[in-house]
Amino acid sequence: MSSKNQTYSAATESSTIYESRSRWQRFKLAARKSPYTARFGISIITIYAFVAIFAPILAPYGEAEVFPSPYEPWSSTYIFGTDQIGRDIFSRMIYGARNTVGIAVLTTILSFLIGGSLGLAAAIDRRWIDQLLSRSVDVLMAIPSLIFALVLLSIFGSTVLNLIIIIAVLDATRVFRLTRSVAVNVVVMDYVEAAKLRGEGLGWVMRREILPNIMPPLIAEFGLRFCFVFLTIAALSFLGVGIQPPTADWGSMVRENANLLQFAQYDLRAGLTPLLPASAIALLTVAVNFVVDWFLHKTSGLRDE
């Protein structure tokens, strides 16, 4: 045995072997070890984000610009042809990324703000606040959400704002349940008790003591929720109560061009046209799920053995 081991000192006590790394270093390490599915997902998401941000620059024509020739086939002027009133489908696809994805992101963020904060409050105060919130959530969840959203949108009108608020509130119920259930396990920790003993307020306990410790499952849930919200908006638009024309949106584009499918036997490319926005939706959903899967796998602490 070496001599340094013979005397005891608190500062040199052996601890778990652990190297201090900055966030950036940890990120680089994680990225290097990421599976190809996650890399694929991240690149797809980056491309979507790029297209959404630079839509006006990338699109050859305007979002609602109408040309005199409806149902134009694919050509060098109109890359994916034009729709039933003569709008350029390629341009609308690009703007659609901005609208559909943007609204879905906003909705998801809002639903996390509502569901997350109420879930935390319910987890901390387990008496009447918890009862009140949990039971109201049960009631909301008892109604099938797509039908409920349809009803509410018909009542309040399909403006973008209403769409965001209604879907966010309905989706917040699921976020609430998740947040509450993971937070309940953290609330019983001694450090939360220590903070309460110190006299810290509810806000501090929520933000500083609990939230950082439940972030991983919430971030993963954010990805999944985003997909659901995205699909709900697309479904509502397809049904005609979602994003209203002339705003370009993938869900309504599928609906508007759906009848082109029957022309596939004459012109294959015309038949493909309604599938383009549909596959844009599918691709993004798959990409987000790949990334979420990888993230969940990392944070769950499972080893590949």
Binding site: M1, S20, Y191
Partner: protein
């Protein structure tokens, strides 16, 4: 192999064993070439601090490594067969059959969905050692031999229907059921109360002797290992420090490290005269929901002294602390602090009252937010109570770190980057940051290794000298009480059994409960358990 030959080869022979563990993206050596020899019927005690590799070595004796670990060198011969060369399938035919394992936490190791007796006998039946009827019959005998109440019926219960000590004994019966050649005990009594520990130890020892089973007994408690083992091996940093027969090891340890382990139990402190009370509980009653837990509890805490509250789990000692902190409002009685009555609930107390009473928790792991750095953890009370900011705050945090014998290097570390003892020190610093008068220490050393415990206790004592602090020290460990207290309060089932100065409480005559509690504390004498059992029988 003939019988005589079989007796000559050691049952277990480990040579130059090296095991690596994977953490933080790298392989680290956990066991660095350890030799071990165990003959039939022998009990070997493995002791060392946490992280010394004793559990890893214990499991490796069965040819098993935990996920994330790998054997990189050396050999493990079980009856001459090298386990490191065997396929998993071959090894599985040994596990639960020729070698069995008793885990630390019995509660976490039983399947809550099956009856105890099914779990006790499952591997015996699976390997066809006995048929179901014979195995059940044998299990009843084992329960009886382990002093379990109602041995023919207890097996029909489910794990949650028996106590922790009983569960640990059922687990020993499970390990015994296939009549293995080797049992690994991995800290089987660490989670138990002293009075339960004694019973479990006696029954384990007698059953190991009865069937002449070889065993490896892993623990960090020297006094316990002294009762169980024929010889003791001390491990540190994955290396052997020394090995010797128990008696020789206890009387003449060779290495400095071993001696330092032995010396911990000799920490003593001069008893202080009792001043006027800073804190007093006057006939406190408290209950959780409708079930009462405290009955007429009176505790006096003299200023500047240490009052130790002792008792087993469920005695109400932690509840008393919760009443003082205001987390659990009492149903009757008053809490007086420095001449004034404290409001019942936390919400009614002023910031100043909260500041003056601080608390240190048993599990430093859960008492610190894993996402905050040491700077944030210690800095928050400074900012919250004393409105310190920026430079001033940082300076004070470093000062506090130095008071707890750490330094500024620790500022940006997260709790995961600290050892057990360092974590507890940070918790102490967090309590000190508030400039308190009164600190409640709830089992602060019970999760720590002996040598680290000593360091923490010494630190607490010197801080008391320096700052004139008053401690309410909640513990179930009598040797800690002897080491640091001035006054002792013995609690049992929500009542105060005895209260007074240390000398008074520790000198006879004792009330019956105090007597039981004191006599159950293992001593560093290999004959202690035998003598105790003899005297209790008579």
């Amino acid at each position: 192999m003939s019988n005589s030959e079989k007796n000559k080869t050691p049952l277990l022979k480990i040579r130059g064993l090296k095991i690596q563990g994977f953490s933080d993206e790298r392989w680290h050596e956990i066991i660095k070439g350890v030799d071990l020899t165990l003959n039939r019927g022998e009990v070997l005690g493995l002791i060392g601090e946490s992280g010394a590799g004793k559990s890893t070595l214990g499991l490796a004796a069965m040819g098993y490594t935990q996920p994330g670990c790998r054997i990189t060198g050396g050999s493990i011969y079980f009856e001459g067969i090298d386990l490191t060369q065997l396929s998993d399938e071959k090894k599985r035919s040994f596990w639960g059959n020729r070698m069995t394992y008793v885990a630390q936490s019995a509660a976490a190791s039983f399947n809550p969905a099956h009856r105890l007796i099914e779990q006790t006998t499952s591997s015996t039946i699976r390997f066809g050692i006995k048929d179901r009827a014979a195995a059940y019959e044998d299990a009843h005998h084992l329960y009886d031999a382990l002093n379990l109440p109602n041995p023919s019926k207890i097996g029909d219960r489910y794990p949650h229907q028996v106590s922790g000590g009983q569960l640990q004994r059922v687990m020993t019966a499970m390990a015994m059921s296939p009549r293995p050649d080797l049992i690994i005990f991995d800290e089987p009594t660490t989670a138990l109360d002293v009075t339960t520990q004694v019973e479990v130890l006696s029954s384990m020892r007698s059953i190991v002797e009865e069937f002449n089973t070889a065993a490896i007994y892993i623990t960090h408690d020297l006094a316990v290992v002294a009762q169980m083992a024929d010889s003791i091996k001390v491990l540190r940093y994955g290396e052997e420090v020394e090995e010797a027969p128990t008696r020789k090891m206890l009387s003449k340890p060779k290495e400095t490290y071993t001696k330092s382990l032995w010396s911990v139990r000799s920490l003593k402190k001069k008893e202080r005269k009792a001043n006027e009370s800073i804190m007093s509980l006057n006939s406190i009653n408290a209950s959780y929901g409708s079930s009462p837990v405290l009955f007429d509890v009176d505790i006096e805490v003299p200023r500047g002294s240490t009052v130790a509250v002792v008792g087993e789990s469920g005695s109400g000692k932690s509840t008393a602390a919760r009443v003082i902190t205001g987390l659990l409002p009492q149903t009757a009685g008053r809490v007086m602090f420095d001449g004034y009555e404290l409001p019942k609930t936390l919400a009614e107390r002023s910031k100043e009252q909260k500041r003056r009473i601080q608390m240190i928790y048993q599990m430093a792991d859960t008492a610190m937010n894993p996402r905050q750095t040491v700077r944030e953890i210690i800095g928050r009370p400074l900012e919250f109570y004393l409105a310190m900011q920026g430079e001033e705050k940082t300076k004070r945090v470093i000062e506090l770190l130095e008071m707890i014998e750490l330094n500024a290097d620790f500022l940006e570390r997260l709790p995961a980057e600290l050892s057990g003892g360092q974590k507890q020190r940070i918790c102490i610093a967090r309590a000190l940051a508030a400039n308190p008068d009164f600190i409640i220490c709830d089992e602060v050393t019970s999760a720590l290794d002996q040598i680290v415990q000593e360091g923490i206790l010494k630190l607490l004592l010197s801080l008391q000298e320096e700052l004139g602090l008053t401690y309410l020290f909640i513990t179930h460990d009598i040797s800690t009480v002897r080491a640091i207290s001035d006054q002792v309060v013995v609690m049992n089932e929500g009542r105060v059994v005895e209260q007074g100065s240390k000398t008074k409480v520790f000198s006879p005559p004792h009330p019956a409960y105090t007597e039981l509690l004191l006599s159950s504390v293992p001593e560093m004498d290999p004959d202690w358990l035998s003598n105790l059992n003899a005297s209790r029988r008579s």
